[in-house]
C-alpha cells in the first residue's frame, strides 16, 4: 500500500465579485466566482496525478491552493511531510499529516521547501531583470541554504546540470530574454527543484512551448521524478500530453471534478459526457481525418464561473440531459476500479 | 489551374540590430478548392508569410523580393489603391489569430460585417445586411449577433464572426492564421468542423497557418513545413504525414503526443536559429541527426522526390 502524500477534501475557493454602486443600492447580494467548488482527491507518493480541464475550470486555482500560494475559502488540504516539517512534531502535524489551515505562518517557509510549483509561462515566470544565477540563488538566500557564495554556486551548478542546461557557466550570467522557451522552462524547473521538494505542482509546464521541445521537457520531468523521488500534480488542458505522463487523472468542469480514473481507463472508457467530448475533440496528426467531421457531442461554451447553472453544472451542454440533472447536483460515485464519476447516468 | 502562385518570396525585417530574414525565398501555390496547411514553430516566419500574402507586413518589415500572383495578377508590384480596391478581402481575406482584439469594439457585429460589402460592392444597405445575416447563419451563429457588440460575445463566437467576415465577399482565398490557438479544445474542434464545412460546401481555398501539425492533418490537402524562414518540405498531406522526408518534419511528427498510443516521444534537440544570422549551409544542420559535411557548407535546393513531394535536404 502506497502512502498518500496529499489529501484534499471538499476544497473550495470563491472570489467575491466587486459589486457596482447600483447593485449595492439595490441591496443585491454579493456574488462570487466559484473557481474551485468542492474538490476532493488524493495523490499517492511517487505518482503523477493529472488535473485536466478547459480554461476557467479551476485546475490552476487548485494547483495554487495545493502550493499554499492562496488560501482556500473552505475545505481541507493535508500534506505528508518528509523531513524538517515532520520533525516539528506538535499540534499541526496530526497523524503524520500537516493540515494547511493549522500551519502557523512561520512554518510556511518550511512547507515551501517541500511543495514547489512549476509555472506555465516560460516568459513571464522569470524576472526579466535578473540573471539566471540570481533567479536560482534567491531560494537559497531566502532559506539560508549554503554558507557562502561558493557553496551556493555549487548547488546552482548542480541543479542546472540536472535540468540539462550544461555547461552551467554558459547560462548563469544570462538574462531570461537571451534563452529560448525550452531553456527558460528548464530554469523554471531548476528553481522549483533547487530546494529539494517532494511534491511538485506542474501548472501546464509545456503548453506554451513549441512541439519540438515539449517532449524533451516532459522526458526531463519524468527523469527528474525518478532521480529525485518526486510526486507531481500535473495540470494540463491537453489530454494527449496527460496521456504521456500521468498515472491517474481527474477531469474538472466549472470548479468540480466530474470524473477521475487511471489514465488508460479514462481514455479508453470515458464515462462522463464531458470527458467523452474532450476526448473526441483532440486532433490527431492523421491526414485521413480531413475527410470526416469530428463528432463533438456537446454544444455551446463553458458558462462563467460566476453564474454556475443549478443542478448538474454540465446539464445545459449535455446531450443526455435528464430532469434530475436540472434539479440536483450528481454526487461523485465509484463505478468500480477506482473509477469515479459525477453523473446521474451512472 | 492555380489560384495563388508565390514565387521566391522574401520578407525581411530591417531592425536596428540587423536584418531578420523572416521569409526567405519561399515558393508554393494553391489551387481552387484546395486547403494548404503551413506548419512551423514560433519564429519560423509562418505568420509573416500570412501577412505578406495580404501585403500587410508591419514595419520595419518589407517584401524585398519575389512574386505573389493571385488569379494572374502580381500583388507585390501593384499600387496600393488597386490592391485595396480590387484584391484585399475581395480576392484574399484573412482570419486573424487574436480574434479577441480583431473586432472594432465600438461598432456592432452587423456594422462590421456589412462594411466590406458597402465599400467593395454597389449594394444597398438592406441587401448587405441580408447577406451578413446569411453568412452569420452559415457559420453557426444566431442572426441576433448582428446587433451585438464584440465584448458581449465569447471567444468561440468571435472567431465564428471573424470567419463570417472573411467569407462575406466570397474571396477566392482565405488565409487563416492560427485561428484556434486561443480557444479551448472543444471549441477548437467545433471551429475545425466549421472549416471543413466551408471547404466542402463553398469549395473554398484556404491557407491554414498553424504551429499544430495535428490541426493541419485535420483539414489540409497540401502541407508546407517551414523552418527558419524557409519551406523545408512541401507536398500532399498523405505523403508528408505518412512518409515525411525532411529530418525536421520527421522529428516534429515524432514529438507530437497522441491520445491513443503510448509510443515513446522523441524530440528535436537544440534551439531554432537566430534569423539575424542563420547558420551557413542548411539552416537545420545544427539540430539535424543526419548532418553531413555538405549541409554545413551549402544550402540544399528544394527537390522533387516523386509525386510532387518537395524536400530541401541533401539526403535526397
Amino acid at each position: 500500500m502506497v502512502d498518500k502524500i496529499l489529501i484534499v477534501e471538499d476544497l473550495r475557493k470563491y472570489y467575491p465579485i466587486r459589486r457596482s454602486l447600483s447593485e449595492i443600492l439595490m441591496f443585491k447580494r454579493g456574488r462570487y466566482v466559484r473557481a474551485v467548488d468542492g474538490v476532493s482527491f488524493y495523490v499517492n507518493d511517487g505518482e503523477v496525478y493529472c488535473i485536466v480541464g478547459e480554461s476557467g475550470c479551476g485546475k490552476t486555482t487548485t494547483g495554487r491552493l495545493v502550493t499554499k500560494l492562496i488560501e482556500p475559502t473552505g475545505g481541507v488540504i493535508r500534506y505528508k511531510p518528509s523531513s524538517a516539517l515532520a520533525r516539528i512534531n506538535n499540534e499541526f502535524v496530526v497523524g503524520g499529516y500537516v493540515d494547511y489551515r493549522r500551519l502557523p505562518k512561520k512554518y510556511v517557509k518550511l512547507l515551501r521547501r517541500e511543495v514547489q510549483i512549476i509555472f506555465q509561462d516560460p516568459y513571464g515566470s522569470l524576472d526579466p531583470r535578473q540573471t539566471i544565477y540570481s533567479i536560482l540563488e534567491e531560494p537559497l538566500v531566502i532559506h539560508g541554504i549554503g554558507n557562502d557564495r561558493k557553496e551556493r554556486e555549487e548547488l546552482i551548478f548542480k541543479v542546472l546540470e540536472d535540468v540539462k542546461l550544461s555547461p552551467p557557466e554558459e547560462f548563469i550570467n544570462r538574462y531570461p530574454h537571451m534563452l529560448s522557451g525550452g531553456q527558460r522552462q528548464r530554469v523554471n524547473i531548476a528553481r522549483a527543484l533547487i530546494l529539494g521538494p517532494k511534491l511538485v505542482v506542474a501548472d501546464e509546464p509545456v503548453s506554451m512551448l513549441d512541439v519540438s521541445v515539449r517532449a524533451e521537457i516532459l522526458q526531463l520531468m519524468m527523469d527528474l521524478k525518478i532521480s529525485r523521488g518526486l510526486t507531481y500534480v500535473f495540470i494540463t488542458h491537453d489530454l494527449a500530453v496527460a496521456n504521456y505522463i500521468c498515472d491517474r487523472v481527474a477531469v474538472m468542469y466549472l470548479g468540480k471534478i466530474v470524473e477521475e480514473a487511471d489514465m488508460l481507463k479514462l481514455v479508453n472508457e470515458p464515462l462522463h459526457p464531458y470527458t467523452k467530448a474532450l476526448i473526441s475533440a483532440v486532433p490527431e496528426p492523421n491526414p485521413s481525418n480531413r475527410f470526416k467531421i469530428r463528432e463533438v457531442p456537446i454544444v455551446g461554451e463553458v458558462p462563467s464561473a460566476a453564474a454556475v447553472p443549478p443542478g448538474c453544472r454540465f446539464h445545459p451542454r449535455c446531450p443526455y440531459v435528464m430532469d434530475v440533472c436540472r434539479r440536483e447536483e450528481p454526487p461523485i460515485k465509484d463505478v468500480g476500479g477506482n473509477h469515479l464519476v459525477a453523473c446521474w447516468l451512472y | 489551374m492555380s489560384l495563388l502562385d508565390v514565387k521566391n518570396l522574401k520578407i525581411y525585417y530591417f531592425t536596428l540590430k540587423g536584418v531578420v530574414r523572416a521569409v526567405d525565398d519561399v515558393s508554393f501555390n494553391v489551387r481552387e478548392g484546395e486547403v494548404l496547411g503551413i506548419a512551423g514553430e514560433s519564429g519560423s516566419g509562418k505568420s509573416t508569410l500570412g501577412y505578406g500574402l495580404m501585403r500587410l507586413v508591419p514595419p520595419p518589415g518589407r517584401i524585398v523580393g519575389g512574386n505573389i500572383v493571385v488569379s494572374g495578377r502580381d500583388i507585390v508590384s501593384m499600387d496600393e489603391g488597386t490592391l485595396r480596391r480590387e484584391i484585399r478581402w475581395k480576392v484574399i481575406s484573412m482570419i486573424f489569430q487574436g480574434a479577441l482584439n480583431a473586432l472594432n469594439p465600438v461598432y456592432t457585429i452587423g456594422k462590421q460585417l456589412v462594411e466590406p460589402i458597402i465599400f467593395h460592392e454597389d449594394v444597398s444597405l438592406k441587401e448587405a445586411y441580408e447577406r451578413a445575416a446569411e453568412m452569420v447563419k452559415l457559420v453557426g451563429l444566431n442572426e441576433d449577433v448582428l446587433r451585438r457588440y464584440p465584448h458581449e460575445l465569447s471567444g468561440g463566437m468571435k472567431q465564428r464572426v471573424m470567419i463570417a467576415m472573411a467569407l462575406i465577399l466570397r474571396p477566392k482565398i482565405v488565409i487563416a492564421d492560427e485561428p484556434t490557438t486561443a480557444l479551448d479544445v472543444v471549441i477548437q474542434a467545433q471551429i475545425m468542423n466549421l472549416f471543413k464545412k466551408i471547404k466542402k460546401e463553398l469549395n473554398q481555398s484556404i491557407i491554414f497557418i498553424t504551429h499544430d501539425l495535428s490541426l493541419i492533418a485535420e483539414i489540409a490537402d497540401n502541407v508546407a513545413v517551414m523552418y527558419a524562414g524557409k519551406i523545408v518540405e512541401y507536398g500532399n498531406s498523405d505523403n508528408v504525414f505518412n512518409t515525411p522526408k525532411h529530418p525536421y518534419t520527421q522529428g516534429l511528427l515524432k514529438s507530437i503526443p497522441r491520445l491513443k498510443s503510448k509510443e515513446k516521444l522523441s524530440w528535436i534537440p537544440g534551439t531554432p536559429p537566430d534569423l539575424r544570422n542563420p547558420p551557413v549551409g542548411c539552416r537545420f544542420h545544427p539540430r539535424c541527426p543526419y548532418v553531413m559535411d555538405v549541409c554545413r557548407r551549402e544550402e540544399p535546393p528544394i527537390k522533387d522526390v516523386g509525386g510532387n513531394h518537395l524536400v530541401a535536404c541533401w539526403l535526397y
Binding site: - | R85, N104, P105, P116, H120, H151, M165
Partner: protein
Amino acid sequence: MIAVLYGVLILTGVIIGVTGLSDIVLYNIVDERLRIIKQQLAIKIKDPEQLNRAVEELKQELIRAYDLDKPWYARIPRIIYQIMVLDLGTSRSTLSFSGSNKVADIILERIPNTVLMVTTAVLISSLVGLVVGLWSATKVGSLLDRFTSLISAISYSLPTWWFGMVVILVFAYELRLFPSGGMTTPGLTITDPITRFLDLLWHLFLPVLTLFVALVGSWIYVTRSIVISITKEDFIVVGRAKGLPERVIRNRYLLRNSAPPILTNMILGLAGSITGAILTEAIFNWPGMGSLYYNAILSADINMILALTYIYTLVYVVARFILEVLYVVLDPRVRY
C-alpha cells in the same frame, strides 16, 4: 465622485481651520456686522460708554453665535455648510458691476467671462490638436512627426502668462494691432450689437492666442499618443486587410476608438484651463475670475480668495463627474 467632493470640502475646511484663516474670516464678519449695528445703535443710544457696552455685549453674542469661542475643529461642519450654500461672505476690495459686495454675487458675475475666454481657447486648441495629433500619429517617425513633437515640447514648457506678456509686447506695443487688455473698449457707447461683438472679439484675440499656444502642444501630444496606442490594435490591421479606404480607417477606426480617452482629456483640459487661466487673465486684465483672484491676493481679500479657491475646485470636481457620465455614453464596453 460625491465622496471626492466631500473629501475636498473637508480638506478645505481643515486647512482653513488649522491655519487660523477661519478665525480671521469670522472676525471680519463679526466686525462688519458690529459696525453696522453700531451705526444703528448710535442713533438710539447717545451715551458713548453705554453704547460701547452694548456693542461689546453684542460682540460676545456674535462670537458665541459664530462658535469663535470654540476650537477650530468644532467649526468645520459650519464652514462646510457655509461653503455648500455659497454663503461666502463679503469682499473688502471689490464690488460687483452692480455694486454688491457679496462674494457670491461678484463671482457669479465673473464666471461667464472666464468661461467665454477659456472655452474659446480650449475649443480651438483641441480642434487643432486633434487634427495635427492624428496626422502625426499616422506618420510616426516622419519629419513632420518629429517637428510636431518638438512643438508640443515647447508648448508644454511655455509659461503661459509669460507668453501673454510677450504677445502684448509684440501685438499691442510694437505692432499696435490689438488692445493690451480688458474686455471692451472703455468709453465705447455704441449699443449696436455687431460692433460690440466685434469689439469683444478684438479684445478676445490676444488672450485666446496665448492660451491656444500654451494648450495646443499638450493636445497634440495627448491625441498622438492615444491614437498611436490604438493604431497598434489588431482591429486596425483587420480594417486595412478589409481593403477599407484610409479615410474610413482614420475616421471609423482610429478616431472613433480614440474618442473616449480624447474626450476625457478635453473635459479635464477645460476644467484645468479654467484654473490655469488665472495668470493669463491677470496679464490681460480680463474681467474674469482669474484677475479677480489676482487682485484679491494683491489686496489680501481673504473671503474672496477662499471663495475662489473653492469655486475652482468645484469646477474641477464637476468636470470629473460629467466625464464619468459621458464615458458610459461613448464606450459600449462600459455599458453594463
